[in-house]
Amino acid sequence: MIRWIARLIGFAFVVVLLWALGSNLKAYFQSPPPATAEHEFHKEPKELHLASNGPFGRFDKQQLQRGFQVYKEVCSGCHSLNRVAFRDLHALGYNEAEVKAIANQWPTEVASINPETGEPATRKAIPSDYFPSPYANETAGRAANNNALPPDLSLMAKAREGGAAYIYSLLTGYQNQPAALLKEFPTAKTPAGLHYNPYFANLNLAMPQPLTSEGQVTYAPGNPKPTVDQMAKDVAAFLVWTAEPNLQGRHKAGWPVILFLIVATILAYLSYRNIWAEAKRKVAPVGPMDPANKAKRTRASKKAGIDE
């Protein structure tokens, strides 16, 4: 009974699925979905080698400081970084006084209240403050940017497919719309106010090219030349740190754990073999299965015409 019901239900599902398959295939061949500009011109992120990549990855503090400088001088005008606090900058190699000075001189002040009157006010940032947003709220951010809200950058390196490589590619990927694209998709012309970038999912990005010329940021002596490429790499490295400040600690903690577990596995395996040796001997080939006897048996079997 149960099998008859099962067969019926199974049959129903299979029929419905094949019906759906048939109608899908029909629709596909009658009117194949049109090719899209995104599908043909979107590019995967370029390769980016950072010191923090891979299981031995460590942060390059010098590079993080440069990236922070790029964020501060270029990005922070529009993009907030509100999950990172000034105190976190110690990890970049800044000392107490430097962190205090950075917080104190941050262009945007922290919202507070006037202690006398309770009116909204601002005050200078201190190390325990999080980076203040450039806009008072989301509406202000939209209003100032043609309704395209600049996203918070704290987690950007984890919140996009490709991570840091995506950020680097996007920053260096601005170009004029290729003629081939316009020829093939005349309607896909980048709308006014947007900017063509093949690394962006739909190719047209509201953010204008932020890193435009060499020397836009002046690096301290002893650092590489601030080319657009270098600045993009540095800020991508910085955003890896803001997204996961514990990355280096994670890698450092990981190796002892793995080594410990490997040794534990080996010891436990030896112990297992040791314990089981006894069990295996208990069913060791004795009697007719003993190797010596087995040869005899095989001979006997052959004689008797039994094929083993």
């Binding site: 325990s128 040794v263 040791n274």
Partner: protein
């Protein structure tokens, strides 16, 4: 067959010194034990204060509006802090007490900054079991020694916020602080 098996068993017993065989089992089990302890450490450690709490701001307090004889209560690291502007009478009362009479001997000078003996800055946390003593607000009970009085279990503090009576073992704690100017003090 049984005899064969028995023979085998005997041979095994003889072959392997028990000690060596047990050693590997003991080593494996001890490793598991060490591993369990190593796992327990972060599980316990996570309950410690997180980085944001440890980094909580030092606060700046404007003391220009505290008249002699008055006190204010402010909050530092989520704990109350008492800032009192002592009157000359209170200072002399505090200095008149012989140290031998004190449970936790400390002079007023040790509890204030040089030249600023009238500014008594202490945590408002009773050293007995952590209640907030009375005595800051206008008209509050300041206890038999004219300082602070903890209503929970009756600890009385004198004008230098030293313990004089009741169950508390220590004087009210003096936090780290510095005068930025005559009117602004940074606590923490």
């Amino acid at each position: 067959m049984a005899t064969l098996e028995e023979k085998y068993a005997e041979q095994i017993e003889a072959d392997h010194s028990l000690r060596r065989r047990d050693f590997i089992n003991i080593a494996a089990v001890s490793f598991a034990g060490v591993g369990a302890v190593a796992v327990a450490l972060p599980l316990v450690n996570q309950m410690n204060p997180p980085a944001d709490v440890l980094a909580l701001a030092s606060i700046e307090v404007d003391i220009s509006k505290i008249a002699p004889g008055q006190a204010i209560k402010t909050s530092w690291r989520k704990q109350p802090v008492f800032i009192r502007n002592l009157t000359p009478k209170e200072i002399s009362e505090a200095n008149a007490v012989p140290l031998s009479e004190l449970r936790d001997p400390q002079t007023l000078a040790e509890r204030t900054k040089p030249g600023k003996e009238n500014w008594l800055i202490t945590l408002g946390v009773c050293t007995h079991l952590g209640c907030v003593p009375l005595g800051v607000g206008e008209g509050e009970n300041r206890g038999p020694f004219g300082g602070y009085f903890c209503p929970c279990h009756g600890s009385a503090y004198d004008t230098a916020a030293r313990i004089r009576q009741g169950p508390a073992p220590l004087n009210l704690m003096v936090p780290d602080y510095e005068f930025n100017s005559d009117t602004v003090v940074t606590i923490g």
